[in-house]
Symmetry: C2
Subunit: 372 residues, 2 copies
C-alpha cells in the first residue's frame, strides 16, 4: 500500500463506522483543503471522492498535473463536469454506484446557501454537512505526522537551518541590506535546494515596521537590521510541507524597553519549550506564557503557536482559548512563537518548529534572537 | 467624503432599501473578503460592521496596522472579543444599538454549521445568509472601478508594462536564465517601485513544464526560454490592486503543432478583443473563442478571462458557462487570456488587462508572444 492508500484506508474505516457512503473533499481557490493532497498526492485544484467501498475518484482541474502527481483509483478531468462541484458529486455517486438514500458527507466549510443547493440537487441522498464528522478525523490524521511525513520534516528543517545561518551571515556582512534582499534570497535558496517555494509570504520588517504582528506589506525595499528590532518570519515548503520560523535581529544601542521585550520573549519561549511533551495540554502551555507576560504587564496579541504541515496553520492549536482541547502527541509538529509588539519600540518574536517525541520535545529548527 | 465613505454610502442606501439593519463583513485567513479593504482601507485580517444608521465599526486583528491604514467611524481590537466573530457581532449589535428583531446579514460564505451557531447565539435577531443580498452589491460595486481605482490601474499597468519590457530584454540578453531568476526579478522590480508585492505567485514555466495551466511548482531553478514554448504569468500589486498578464516566449525551431497553437491563440485573443466593449455580454465573447478553438479541434481548459482588482480573480466572469450573466460596463477591468496546452508540445497563453471605456475597450498592458 502506498502512503496515500494507507491514509485513505483509515478514512474508509471511519466512514464504515459512521455509515457514511461517500465523501467529497474540495480543494479550489476559495476553499483550500490540503486533505486532497494528503490523500492523493494531487497538489491542488481538485475534488476527491472516497466511497465506503474503498474506491477513490480524483477530479482535477489540470489533468496533466494529475498524471504527474496523483494516485487515485480513477481520475476524471473537472471539465467533464463543467467545473461544477455539484455536477461532479452527482456523477461520482452514479459512477461509484452509491445506493439511493445513502449518507453523503460534504465539507463543513460548505456555505449555507450552497448547502441548500446540494440538498436540493441530491434529493435522493442524505447530504450531511457537520463539524464533528470526517473533517476532525482528517485534521487529527494530519496533525500526527507519519514516518513519510517526518522524513520530509527532517529535510525541510535541515534546509531551514542552513538558510537561517546563511541569512545571519549575510546580514552581518552587509550583503543582505533590505527587506526585499532577504525575502528573495530565502526564496531563491529554497528553490535551488528543490523546495516548491516559501510556505507563506516571507515577512521581513525593519525596525520602523516590526511593531506589526504581520508587517504590511510583507517586505519592502526598506532597510533591514538597523538600530532597534527587526523581525524575519519565513518558511520554506518541501514536498508540500512547510517550516515556519521567526528570527529577531537586534542592533544596539537598545532602549531599556527593547531589552526587556527581548528577555521577556526569550523567557516565554523557554517556559513553553520546557513544558512541551507528549500528553501535555497545548492550552496549559499557552496559559503559562500568557501568565508570564501578564506578570510583566504585557499582552501577546496572537496565539502561542500552531501546527504546521501541508498548511502553514493547521492542528494542533497552541493557544489559551477556552475551547482549545488539543493534547500533544508524538508525531505532532508545531510552532512556538511568543512575541511582543510596541508601536514605539518595535516588535520581537522568536519562533521555532517543535516535534513531539515519545519522551519529550525536539526543536527542529535553529531560529534565535540575533544581536548585531 | 473620502473614497471609502462614498463606497460605504452606497451600501448603506442598499441596506435601507432591503431593510437590513447590520452587516458583518469578514476578512480572515480562511475566508478572505477584500470588501473590508474596499470599504475601510484596512489591508486585511479584520471584521467590518456597517449599520443602516450609517456607522462603520472596524474590528482589526492588528490595531497598529489599523491606525496606519484604516478609515472607519470606530475601531476596536479583535482581542476585545477573544478573536471570535460571533462574540464581535453580538457586541457590535449592542454598541451600534441595533433593535431586537432586526435583520442582520452575514457573509454568504458562512459555513452551514457556523450559520446554525449564529442563528442560535443571535436569537434576538433575524440572521440572514443569502447569495442574492448585499454581497452581489459589493461584487458589482467592486467590478466597476471608480476614479480613484482607475488612477491606481493606470499606475499598476504602467509599472507592469515597464517590467514586461525589462523581462524581455534580460531574457534576450541571457541575464535572466532560470524560472526563479525571472520570478524574483519581477518581485524585486515591483517592490522597488512601491508595489506591495506580486498579486499572486508568479508562474514561470520553461518548455518542459509549460503544458500545465498553472505550472507546479510555480517556478523552479530550471531553465526558462529554451527551445519550444515557455509561459510567464505574473501580476504586481500596487495600493492593493493587481495586474495579471501572461507572456509566451517561443524559441525556434518550433514544431508545426507549436506554430499552430501560437497562431490559434493569437487569433483567439484578437477575436475576443474585437468584441469587447460596453453593453457586450461577457459570455458571448467567451463562446466566440470556444467556437474558434472547436473549429480547430482544440479545447481551452479554462475560462477566457476574469475581472481583476483587490483580488486576482473577481467579477466580471468572462467565461462561456451558461450561468454567466455579466454584461461589460465602462470602468470594468478584466483579463483576456486564451491559451492552449499540450503534454508533448507545451503550452501557450496570451493575457492582457482590458479596461472597458464609454466607447470601447482599452488594452492596459503590453503582454505578447515573444519569439526568441
Amino acid at each position: 500500500m502506498s502512503g496515500y492508500e494507507k491514509r485513505r484506508s483509515k478514512i474508509y474505516d471511519y466512514m464504515a463506522q459512521e455509515n457514511i457512503v461517500l465523501v467529497m473533499i474540495e480543494d479550489f481557490e476559495n476553499s483550500r483543503d490540503p486533505a486532497v493532497r494528503w490523500l492523493s498526492g494531487q497538489p491542488g485544484d481538485a475534488l476527491l471522492f472516497l466511497s465506503v467501498g474503498r474506491k477513490s475518484l480524483l477530479v482535477p482541474w489540470d489533468i496533466n498535473m494529475a498524471m504527474l502527481y496523483a494516485q487515485a483509483d480513477s481520475v476524471i478531468p473537472y471539465t467533464e463536469f463543467e467545473r461544477r462541484p455539484i455536477k461532479a458529486l452527482k456523477s461520482a455517486a452514479e459512477l461509484l454506484k452509491i445506493p439511493a438514500g445513502s449518507r453523503i458527507e460534504i465539507p463543513p466549510s460548505t456555505p449555507y446557501p450552497q448547502f441548500l443547493k446540494y440538498v436540493e440537487e441530491l434529493s435522493g441522498f442524505d447530504v450531511i454537512c457537520r463539524e464533528n464528522g470526517i473533517w476532525p478525523e482528517l485534521e487529527k490524521g494530519r496533525a500526527v505526522k507519519d514516518d513519510e511525513e517526518l522524513k520530509i520534516y527532517r529535510k525541510v528543517s535541515a534546509l531551514t537551518c542552513a538558510i537561517t545561518d546563511l541569512v545571519e551571515k549575510h546580514v552581518r556582512s552587509g550583503k543582505l541590506k533590505t527587506e526585499t534582499d532577504i525575502a528573495l534570497f530565502i526564496d531563491a535558496e529554497g528553490r535551488k535546494r528543490g523546495c516548491e517555494g516559501t510556505g507563506f509570504e516571507t515577512l521581513a520588517a525593519g525596525p520602523e515596521r516590526s511593531f506589526g504582528i504581520h508587517a504590511f506589506p510583507a517586505y519592502t525595499g526598506g532597510a533591514f537590521g538597523g538600530q532597534g528590532l527587526s523581525i524575519l518570519d519565513y518558511g520554506i515548503k518541501y514536498a508540500g510541507y512547510t517550516s515556519d520560523v521567526t528570527l529577531t535581529f537586534a542592533r544596539g544601542p537598545l532602549s531599556k524597553q527593547q531589552e526587556r521585550m527581548l528577555s521577556l520573549t526569550e523567557k516565554a519561549y523557554a517556559i513553553a519549550l520546557s513544558m512541551a511533551g507528549p500528553g501535555v495540554s497545548a492550552k496549559e502551555i499557552a496559559i503559562a506564557v500568557d501568565t508570564h507576560f501578564a506578570k510583566a504587564k504585557k499582552i501577546m496579541p496572537h496565539g502561542l503557536g500552531h501546527g504546521i504541515g501541508l498548511e502553514a496553520h493547521e492542528a494542533p492549536a497552541v493557544r489559551s482559548r477556552a475551547d482549545n482541547e488539543w493534547v500533544l502527541e508524538p508525531g505532532m509538529v508545531f510552532t512556538l512563537e511568543p512575541g511582543l509588539y510596541d508601536s514605539v519600540h518595535g516588535g520581537c518574536r522568536l519562533e521555532n518548529d517543535i516535534l513531539i517525541t515519545e519522551t519529550g520535545a525536539e526543536v527542529l529548527t535553529n531560529s534565535r534572537i540575533i544581536r548585531l
